[in-house]
């Protein structure tokens, strides 16, 4: 089973919830940090026995001996990543989406796909029993959804996988929601939280995934989150009031479930109902 934690707006508490759920699951769980531009779960879940591998994408390598300068590859590339200046080819690696068009169209078999590193995938155990997988895009790389797909290939089907998702409601979030069984949307009841949640809910609807909403810092605003959820048939499954003690300890790397034991209890009950598909019982 895969449960994704997403939000629309950043900074609402995705990572706090994801790491806590992974800790509650312990050895039954696998935490997967798919916020590959800013992965932060590791700060809280404390990985150990870390194995790293470099993530690669295929990019073209052109054999100038075989190339007849027919121009088909340059024409085929929709991203402007190839330019033929006669004596040599210019390849702009950051523009390449690794789509395979150039080596597929080449009539001379002059283009070979070769690996280019663009990120790191780490696999580890954690101090809380759950396995931990993290994707981290190299700075200045932009193929966020591609890396998310590669990280998700590490899903352990025998475990309950908790995905810490990216902010926004664009292609990275869409990449996360594919093949997910349940989505938890973490929001705050401010105008920003409301607006961004609405966009995330539209995407969750489009991806046809079951979902529930956690209102974090539920006392900082009055935006009608419940009503918004109801419009999309998505229930509010937990409210966490603002608490200075949580804010201060969490900012120092403490796990949410270690800061407040009653919160651990509430999250555990919520999680079991999600796993058993009996959420209506706690509404």
């Amino acid at each position: 089973m895969i449960i994704a934690i997403v939000s629309g707006k950043g900074g609402t508490g995705k990572t706090a919830i994801a790491t806590s759920l992974a800790a509650i699951l312990g050895e039954r769980g696998q935490l997967m940090d798919c916020d590959v531009e800013n992965p932060n779960s590791y700060l809280y879940i404390k990985p150990k026995n870390v194995k790293e591998e470099r993530a690669t994408i295929e990019v073209p390598e052109i054999d100038l001996e075989k190339c007849t300068h027919c121009g088909k590859c340059v024409e085929a590339c929709q991203y402007g990543a190839l330019a033929d200046i006669g004596a040599e080819f210019l390849f702009f690696d950051k523009l390449c989406h690794s789509c395979a068009a150039c080596w597929t169209v080449c009539p001379e078999d002059a283009i070979t796909p070769v690996g280019r590193e663009y990120g790191t995938i780490t696999m580890s155990e954690s101090a809380y029993g759950a396995d931990f997988v993290q994707g981290k895009l190299d700075v200045s790389e932009v193929l966020t959804p591609t890396l998310i797909y590669q990280v998700k290939e590490k899903t352990d089907k025998n475990k309950i996988t908790i995905i810490d998702g990216p902010p926004g409601a664009g292609c990275p979030l869409y990449a996360v929601l594919e093949d997910v069984d349940f989505t938890i949307l973490v929001t705050e009841p401010t105008a920003f939280g409301y607006h961004d949640l609405e966009r995330a809910l539209e995407l969750v609807k489009k991806a046809e995934v079951d979902a529930g909403i956690i209102i974090n810092r539920s006392t900082v605003g009055n935006a009608p989150i419940k009503e918004l959820g109801a419009k999309f048939n998505v229930p509010v499954i937990l409210e966490i009031p603002y608490d200075d003690e949580i804010a201060k300890n969490y900012s120092r790397g403490a796990m949410l479930v270690s800061i407040k034991s009653e919160l651990k209890e509430e999250l555990s009950i919520m999680l079991e109902h999600i796993i058993d598909n009996t959420l209506e019982e706690i509404q």
Binding site: L43, Q78, S140, V142, G168, A169
Partner: protein
């Protein structure tokens, strides 16, 4: 002319709160919201969605593949070549999942039927010029739900704000940036001459600060720091302050955790206009003064 981008790496660090406050303190500027997946600056600048002078433009990203089920023989070659999980089989025909298609057209190369796959213009969002009650011209945008091309849309927003600057002889553009370090963040930096990094005083705020700082250094753009919610974590604040000092990064200000920011948001006002005596406002006014000194304008 100064084009200043406000970034943070981490979401929710306070970019929009800071941007709106600086917009309220500056005069004669254009505001641009480059967080096209979650554009919120308009709320704090009190935009006037119905103003007759507002403009809306359609935004077209990359073309997308469309398969004609009448011509498709369901051979599956397109699905095999597609690197973006964008083609699936439905009712004995291949179909494109538009949200996943990145417009590479590799499928059109391998398809044996000349008429089966066409690359079609695709609207991926909208761009707006809006009037605001604060009398600031705001350029903002909305990326379609789940769409690609956020980087392209960010570039279009920047281009539009550049045009406004030329027409109105304005000398300042304030850009509310997107979170992350990927495509939209990189795109918001092209053409900027200064970056303000809003850093949340927390372990994750610091981790993300170092990643976004590396991206900015790659662009060779000078930067300054505002620490937000500094009083939540004094040790983190001290670490950031020291780092800034050692690396010659101007520290423009330290903004405390202040519930007034939430109240101002509920009233749709920049915090410095909601209550200029509030602790957060005092810190932001100080930051603005320091910014003007740093850039001598």
């Amino acid at each position: 002319m100064n084009e200043i981008v406000i970034l943070s790496g981490k979401g929710g660090a306070g970019k929009t709160t800071v941007t709106a406050a600086l917009c309220a303190l500056a005069e004669n500027l254009v505001a641009a919201d480059c967080d096209v997946e979650a554009a919120n600056l308009k709320f704090l600048l009190n935009y006037l969605p119905e103003d007759p002078e507002n403009k809306v433009e359609e935004f077209y990203g990359m073309k997308r593949a469309v398969i004609d089920p009448e011509e498709c023989t369901n051979c599956g070659k397109c699905e095999e070549i597609c690197r973006f999980h964008a083609i699936e089989e439905i009712d004995f025909s291949r179909k494109v999942i538009t949200s996943s298609c990145e417009g590479c057209a590799a499928c059109t190369i391998v398809c044996p039927e000349p008429e089966a796959i066409k690359m079609v213009k695709h609207q991926a969002g909208e761009i707006y010029h809006s009037k605001t009650k604060l009398n600031i011209s705001l350029v903002h945008a909305s990326l379609g739900i789940g769409e690609e091309n956020s980087g392209l849309l960010v570039a279009e927003v920047r281009k539009r704000s550049g045009e406004l600057v030329k027409n109105q002889e304005i000398d300042l553009v304030l850009v509310d940036g997107p979170p992350g370090t990927g495509c939209p963040a990189a795109s918001s930096l092209t053409g900027a001459n200064f970056v303000i990094l809003v850093v949340e005083a927390s372990v994750s705020g610091m981790a993300d600060f170092h990643r976004i700082a590396e991206l900015i250094d790659g662009f060779k753009i000078p930067k300054a720091v505002i620490i937000n919610r500094y009083d939540i974590n004094d040790e983190a604040t001290e670490t950031i302050r020291k780092y800034c000092e050692e690396n010659d990064i101007p520290l423009l200000g330290k903004v405390p955790h202040d519930i007034t920011c939430q109240k101002a948001l509920a009233d749709e006002l920049p915090v410095v206009l909601y209550d200029k005596e509030a602790p957060a406002s005092i810190a932001l006014i100080e930051s603005w003064k320091n910014l003007r000194e740093t850039l001598s304008f």
